[in-house]
Symmetry: C2
Subunit: 313 residues, 2 copies
Amino acid sequence: MQKFVYGIDVGGTNLKFGLFEFNKMHLIDQIEIKTPMTNHEVSIFESIFNTIKLVNERNSISIDQIHGIGLAVPCPVKNGFVKLCPNLSWREMDILASMRRYFSKEIQIVVSNDANVAAFGENMVLEKPFMNAIFYTLGTGVGGGVIIDGKILEGGTGLGGEIGHMHMFDDESTDQCGCGSKGCLEQVCGTSAVLSYAKKLSITSSTSLNINNLSIKNIFDEAKAGDDVAIKVVNRIADYIAKSASILAVILDPEVFIIGGGVSKAGQYLIDLIQNHYKKYARFTTGNIPFILARTGNNAGIIGAAYIAKQKN
Amino acid sequence: MQKFVYGIDVGGTNLKFGLFEFNKMHLIDQIEIKTPMTNHEVSIFESIFNTIKLVNERNSISIDQIHGIGLAVPCPVKNGFVKLCPNLSWREMDILASMRRYFSKEIQIVVSNDANVAAFGENMVLEKPFMNAIFYTLGTGVGGGVIIDGKILEGGTGLGGEIGHMHMFDDESTDQCGCGSKGCLEQVCGTSAVLSYAKKLSITSSTSLNINNLSIKNIFDEAKAGDDVAIKVVNRIADYIAKSASILAVILDPEVFIIGGGVSKAGQYLIDLIQNHYKKYARFTTGNIPFILARTGNNAGIIGAAYIAKQKN
């Protein structure tokens, strides 16, 4: 009997579903629905059940062909348990128990934090996945995930791999970060920090940047074209990523750094920049660790979620 | 039949042996011999074999009562394999194979890096060991070890947990660190860095410190007595430890920080200082993670090594 797994990216706005063939992990079908806006404790799981039923039917798949369901959730999670998830109005939620009301024990249910899940997926889609990998997702926020000995590093309370909140600089005049502190990597490398910095530089320096309609793409395009302000901005991103990576390298000793998220659309140019700055900070043999681009793009969540479900037996 | 384990701390100067009763892990006997100075590939293992034979005999223990032997070695080690160990003139050494020439398969042989082993031991001697713990050893160097899900974090090449080489500051005028880079935690919190800083401050400020015969103990004693220079020095140590701990907290999400090494003889005073500085840098819920003092002192190596051997079945 052919088997399948579901990967579900549970976001505050949308629920994204991917149906994957178990052996080769080909994406068979996908669907995106709005996240229910009320009664999240129940309604999200009801939506998941109904959507899986729908997708199964339109693909002529029976429920006993489902090996497992993986969930990526936007909050810390430990052993399937979420203490607090502001995006979904969850508090003290046992996700596994909630899912079990709709799915029998024969179906593996696995849940993990979305950035960690993405890290897992990005690594698994490589021709030869690494046993120890670090994933950065560079977007509005800076997130990430850590794979140790082939497994997601959840940490003691599910807060593991919060790369964006590594303390990277001291500046009391900085605004408070969402984590409650100051000086986070995200406050330098998150997109709003990057745009602000470019705008600030452009006040005192002439630039080709489109300051009134500034975007990350514009900054990278102009940097590639030789604009001094843009070059300074992209080097600052790369420098801080590199510095944080050098710290992670001596603690976690990974085999690879995978760079994803919207900012990574800058491509190999960004990777080369980071790798150059990284050489300054590398210690011992850690200078040899490669940086590579992520591949799964917007599907990182469903792919990673499907892989954590596949792995569970 | 009563069972026993050996913990061996393999150093460049001495080999320290501890014989432990398996169930309660009481230290039954210990012995320290000089590390052989030539032919390290063979002589160290020969010494280990002969010493174990001797200790067994004087305790009336037969070799089949030995559950396992744990080794702590002063270099990165991965799956029992050492690429390079300058302190012991080892290169491309398969430690497990070398031990097997002297000990039968019935005896578990486990080897890991000495700082990681110490971390493991420090956690295991607690009344209730943690599943996720970070251990700092503050001495001439700054070392450490990370326990994730109850296991030592070795990393991809055995370099995991090198806390002392986290990049913590940018100063091109700093000397190069032993790791080949600059700006390491060790370059602020290692004892020679601490002594240099105190001497530097004393040039321009009056102090009760005994500058001509300065010691870490003197600095902490004078800090407790209210000397301004000494207070500045110990706060700098605590501040950097706290900052590095805040970074480790968001990545590894530990349940505890354990502080050991010679500097930790400053006791609860040091712990309180670190915890106070840590509050500035803590993110999310990581402010609740406690700092505690290490307990095993000079026996950290043999105790930790014995515990990794006990754990292996």
